[in-house]
Symmetry: C2
Subunit: 203 residues, 2 copies
């Protein structure tokens, strides 16, 4: 058997990068710019897919945690940027619920809209707002599979008190995806080649 | 910032338990019995919610990895039994795709049908078969929230080449849920109290 410990580590370049970054990001464009930069650097450093995420205090803008896609480096299909970011934020703040009483409201910024797994994880995380750069269909266009999401996925989050803002710096976020594809980046979802995804209405 | 490492560890009782367990589980009832026993022991040892999972070689029945719900102990809402199990199996076999060429077909057994997050994770994992004990609505009945799943979630897995078997020892699996509720076990999803879930047709 295994040793019973699942470890998902961020790439080594992330620490030094964050040391030079601000600790507070006042507006949503700045927050999105950080996640897009993380997605770009993840490609540049060849440490994973073109996806970045950050969790911030919604009102003050303090950065709590970041994530990048480390599926390849960690040998783990769960290691999407949003998942890594949610887990790191929760363990940093020592709570499985970022929306618990007494916590500052948190928001998740993602360089691309969440796939079906990450979408399912968002209500459990306790974040109160989701901001997205590129659309799910922008990721699909370069060959990634976003899975099967309910067509009204934005409404389902909003009905749980999670506000959704989409298309924040979409063009810049999409450019990273396109460049990844053009540079021959691995589209690593093995299952997708055989079993094409259904596209949802809102993607 | 955090140290950039997300760690999800199984409870300490799991190792000794597995040392005494068989390494091969020939039929699906035996595989399900193992995951139900894991769910029961997780409650008994007060190490998390009443959910267990296992990944096996579908044809030979060799046990690859197990998971239990460790949301509370790890301070991480992602740490559902299925997620922990998928990640451990992949890291043990050193692949992010359990369905990659050359791999034996793998199956995921879960003591309760997957929530929306775990459902989204299954196609990325590479497993070829999912076997479920209790239904999603059995978990909802004791107060857990399974999130918003597409109504035809079984069909969406089958269309990706993932066979689904449900209601395997459902009664035994459900009993663990009921006993957890009766013993005053924490129904820990904070968001669910305020924002009731929609039930899907197939749950």
């Amino acid at each position: 058997m295994c040793d019973g410990k699942l470890v998902l580590a961020l790439p080594e370049w992330v620490g030094p990068f964050l040391e030079k970054a601000p600790s507070v990001f006042e507006n949503i464009e700045d927050r999105m710019r950080l996640t897009i930069e993380l997605s770009r650097l993840n490609v540049k450093n060849e440490t994973g897919g073109p996806f970045g995420a950050g969790i911030f205090e919604r009102d003050g803008g303090r950065l709590i945690a970041v994530g990048v896609n480390v599926v390849l480096d960690t040998n783990c299909s769960l290691a999407h940027a949003e998942m890594v970011c949610i887990g790191l934020a929760q363990q940093k703040l020592k709570t499985f619920d970022l929306g618990a009483e007494g916590m500052p409201a948190c928001e998740l910024a993602s360089s691309t809209e969440p796939c079906a797994m990450c979408l399912g994880a968002i209500p459990w995380s306790g974040v109160r707002r989701l901001i997205c750069g590129a659309r799910g269909r922008d990721a699909c266009k370069i060959g990634f599979d976003e899975g099967v999401k309910v067509p009204d996925w934005i409404d389902t989050l909003e009905s749980r008190g999670i506000t959704v803002l989409r298309d924040v710096l979409r063009k810049e976020a999409r450019e990273v995806l396109i460049r990844y594809k053009e540079s021959g980046g691995l589209i690593y979802n093995g299952r997708q080649a055989t079993f094409p995804t259904k596209e949802s209405n809102q993607s």
